[in-house]
């Protein structure tokens, strides 16, 4: 019975006059338990994985060097922060990420919007974008090291190029996907091009743009880590590389956790922003 009530608003879409908005909303409003449900189930999975991992590690079929347990990793993590070098590594990697990804957002948005809005700009830039998008940008790192040295500049360059193209391509797709019906309505009411861009095209592209950002984060982190693996003075990627080369496996995994955590945090932030822009979309719950 409950299930039927919850499914109703979706079925009621389409045609025929619906119930007043207030009743409809209250019909889909989830209980407290339902709100926490995704988090609880997710945490359970994490707990199960950690437990199994710990049990396997405890059996000591392999030495710690080969398979440390989660507890070993946690201890290494704490030690990492006690020693203090990690702060410099984090600051260095963070700076690279912030500058590289920040520049990618600005340049990617501008180029993506321009390529989506003006066909000729797209024609002009398509070969370059396609060239870089189909090349793993990381192969350019040796060149950047020649140009910029092993300081953060070479990493910023590779992060920038890594994140730039997913952002350009998704932003352009967002502009291009503007519904023709909406454009016709706007033209019919005599809207100027500037107004159409600001009030119709841009808001409609937001989900695409944020998807570009989320994909860009992945590429940017790859840039940080791989860049530092190859050549760096400081950085979390370098920390992982050195720990690995010196067989400090728990420390290496602690570094991995740090990187994964950053990635998850950034992705969640963009997901939240995306949700804020999507309040108009009816929630589909089962």
């Amino acid at each position: 019975m409950r299930r039927a009530i919850e499914a109703e608003p979706i079925a009621a879409r389409g045609s025929g006059d619906a119930m007043p908005a207030r009743e409809r909303r209250s019909a889909v409003k989830p209980g407290r338990m339902k709100e926490w449900e995704p988090l609880i189930i997710g945490l359970l999975t994490v707990a199960v994985v950690l437990t199994v991992w710990q049990l396997v590690a405890n059996a000591r079929l392999m030495p710690v060097l080969f398979l440390p347990g989660p507890w070993d990793v946690a201890q290494a993590f704490v030690k990492l922060f006690q020693q203090g070098d990690v702060w410099l590594d984090m600051a260095t990697s963070g700076e690279e990420l912030l500058i590289g990804f920040g520049m990618a957002i600005v340049v990617g948005l501008v180029l993506g919007l321009a390529m989506g809005w003006y066909t000729r700009v797209q024609y002009a830039l398509d070969p370059i974008v396609n060239f870089f998008y189909s090349t793993p940008r990381i192969v350019l790192l040796p060149l950047f090291i020649i140009w910029f040295g092993i300081d953060i500049q070479s990493k910023i360059a590779v992060i920038f190029l890594g994140a730039l193209f997913p952002i350009i391509i998704n932003t352009m797709a967002g502009v291009r996907n503007t519904e023709a019906a909406l454009l016709r309505v706007a033209r019919s009411f005599g809207a100027s091009d500037a107004l159409i861009f600001r009030r119709v095209v841009l808001p409609g592209s937001v989900p695409f743009i944020l998807t570009g950002f989320r994909l860009g984060v992945g590429h940017a982190l790859t840039g940080v880590v791989v860049g530092e693996l190859i050549a760096a003075k400081h950085g979390v990627g370098m920390l992982v590389a050195i720990a690995g080369q010196t067989f400090q496996t728990p420390k290496m995994l602690a570094g991995v956790m740090l990187i994964a955590g950053t990635g998850m945090l950034l992705t969640t932030i963009f997901q939240r922003i995306e949700n804020r822009f999507q309040t108009w979309r009816p929630q589909i719950r089962r």
């Binding site: 045609s15 033209r187 009030r199 309040t279």
Partner: protein, 273 residues
Amino acid sequence: MYDRSAKLAAKGVVIEYWLQRSHALFTAVQGVDLEVRTGEFVAIVGPSGCGKTTFLNAVDGLLPIAAGTLTLDGRAITQPGADRAMVFQQPGLLPWRTVLGNVIFGVEAQRTMGRAESIERAKQQIELVGLSGFEDAYPLELSGGMQQRVNLARALLTDPEMLLLDEPFAALDAQTREMMQLELLKIWSKTKKTALFITHDIKEAIYLADRVIVFTRRPGRVKTVVDITLSRPRDLRIKRDPQFLTYEDQIWESIQEELAVPAERLIAGVPAA
């Protein structure tokens, strides 16, 4: 001779499309002559693909005409203007804007009204189309009929001299469509707007209009004009009136002659309506 009582006058209007795919010029409308008088409700019916929507788009100023003259109050129509407003077949609402935000979009685009004033007046329009209490609802939370009410309110808020309606109820279910027709007539009698209504539904055309214009098959021309002298206000029962049925027969026969299309004229890849 310019008829002073004519709001909209079309003389020998030809509309052509360039078909990109087949690299051919395609004539949608070939020599349309018609007039719509101030305050009149005119409906255009015709076989599907006859160019009636194309003609309406030209009246709105979205499409250029290739030949003939098309004037509103004696001035040639070359582009969209605040003196006309279109109610579209697909509601075309911005999904991220509420009902209120969508209703003000028309005047916002035309830059004819300040924000505070437009919100104030939009609320009145929302009440007029029967959507009070839904100002803050999003389009995806509304039924098809309610979305079309928003579409109508958006057009009415621009206070046009002429209302253009492009099969606005075609996508609705039968009951909702009848209710919307009734409501449209109520609103029309209150606002006294000149209206040009496109439909393929003969009953709908007769029920709403003072005059029904039948288009030929493509390329469209005016085939017959039927004056509808049914008294107003009309309620839905009038659709079973003997006089109503006579009109329906007459118009249906006129359209039927056009439906017997020779096979070679059914060319694929031609834009609908």
